[in-house]
Symmetry: C2
Subunit: 298 residues, 2 copies
């Protein structure tokens, strides 16, 4: 595969505004094409960005599973997904080989990589970033309730997720973290092409196991919150009997499972509507062939 | 004035959810009527709370200036303001003497008191809370662009503003701060009635001077953000030539005024639509007569 174009998407969720600012700033001060690796920029959901909301009709980042079959003109995000694939997809008018989708979270996850399913090209790209920055990788798979992620519409693609930051809140620290990633990505690919770096053979990933909702009353109202000792503790292991939630009476609800798990997206604001209080992962170590990655990026 | 009922309002902005939780928790575990001081509870904007947005049609906390004249049935918040005054207003069916409106901010303001105009009863109540907790007081006045605040529809009323916390994000620390205020308010009034405390004669207030917008391009797009050194520095003085904003080129825009000012609501997410990047205050020391306050609370 001759690598040429990398699509940098920001504002896939309209209220995640720091990546939009970072991309704008980067593109103003950097050539789009360096070492024959070209960045293309797009705002995923421009109307939602303008309005400061996550989406108009549907979550755009769950709207890519059926772009060809599902031509529902009444849903803004389905149309937008179709447009993006028709323009920047591998068979589009301005085809890109890789999609990097930039997101923020209200959870205290720091900078992390999110990947969907076990595509070898995604592992190569994730390995590159983990090699450079030591970032944790969240592998999202086997969740039938959540499908149709943007990057899946490209043969290779990752989400870069940075938090914690409030929705619609400009934070220079968060912007700076995105700038570092955007700047480094192309440079690192170029180094790998020229055999200036060697990726580790083992890749540590946090594999999605499931999500849990807040405890709720029969009428659907949340009746217990993330336990104070669990707040902001993303990526930190949870063992049997560790606290998860606390109700208004001060009663603690604990983790009943036997296996140690690692939580992510603890208390993410946008996931309340998806009935997710946090997601659970398990660690897995994957072997990676240098050969495959070098070929991919060459 | 025989003090009887204090109206505790939460969820005046539907995406400020921590006060709603705190009030719910408090009311479940405490008698409404203690020492002949009764708490009444209401959610200011229940529909916006249900939907997780600030408001439906208009900001409810700017909808109380014309409740009698402005019976526009098509605007949810005007109807809601009318309802609240007709029910809990001094001439309402369940009249309250004082309104306490609980808000959160995405700014790093800590716990503060906001008051509107110079009503002597408000000063007494603010003095009580400042005496107990040493809270800063933001006196909002002379801003013709912003009127119609909820508490102004009662003869006495204050806003309690706590931050920083993201919209729609439950934070146990923030909830706990609201619980402390709700619990203390009635106890302190009771102590004052019984001459168990004596208020300070001087009240330090931060008086609103004006607000400034983000620097913008001609098309209205923001082109400079809060300067990194100004982020989270609410209540900290700004002097001539101190940095305010930084643009994408790294250029700093500074404060040109000659007088020292104290900023509040730095980067508040909800104020972007009001073209406010931060507000400026000046400190003022007000003399307060013990006699007036003791009479008010007796």
């Amino acid at each position: 595969m001759a690598l040429k174009k990398i699509l940098i998407v920001s504002g896939t969720h309209g209220n995640e505004i720091n990546p939009v600012w970072a991309v704008n700033q980067f593109s103003k001060h950097n050539d789009a094409n360096v070492n024959h690796i070209e960045y293309k920029y797009t705002i995923g959901n421009p109307l939602a960005f303008e309005r400061g909301c996550r989406y108009i009709d549907n979550d755009l980042n769950r709207s890519f599973n059926s772009t060809k079959d599902n031509l529902d003109n009444s849903i803004y995000e389905i149309n937008r997904a179709n447009y993006l694939v028709e323009k920047f997809g591998v068979n589009g008018s301005d085809p890109c080989d890789i999609a990097i989708d930039l997101h923020t979270t209200t959870s205290n996850m720091g900078t992390s990589i999110v990947m969907y399913g076990r595509r070898i090209k995604d592992f190569c790209l994730a390995a590159l970033l983990q090699h450079k920055f030591g970032l944790p990788i969240y592998l999202h798979e086997k969740d039938q309730k959540q499908t149709g992620f943007l990057v899946e519409a490209w043969p290779c693609g990752l989400v870069i997720e940075i938090g914690s930051v409030a929705q619609n809140f400009y934070d220079p620290k968060i912007i700076n973290r995105f700038l570092i990633i955007i700047k480094a990505l192309r440079d690192e690919i170029n180094k790998l092409k020229n055999n200036q770096i060697k990726l580790a053979k083992d890749l540590v990933v946090h594999v999605h196991q499931g999500s849990i909702d807040y405890p709720r009353e029969k009428n659907g109202n949340i009746n217990a919150l993330i336990h104070p000792s669990r707040m902001n503790q993303d990526w930190k292991p949870i063992k049997t009997s560790d606290p998860l939630f606390m109700d208004m009476e001060g009663n603690t609800q604990t983790y009943k499972g036997e296996d140690t798990i690692w939580p992510v997206f603890i208390g993410e604001v946008a996931y309340k509507e998806k009935n997710i209080a946090m997601s659970f992962t398990k660690k897995e170590v994957l072997g990676l062939s240098d050969h495959v990655c070098e070929e991919f990026f060459s």
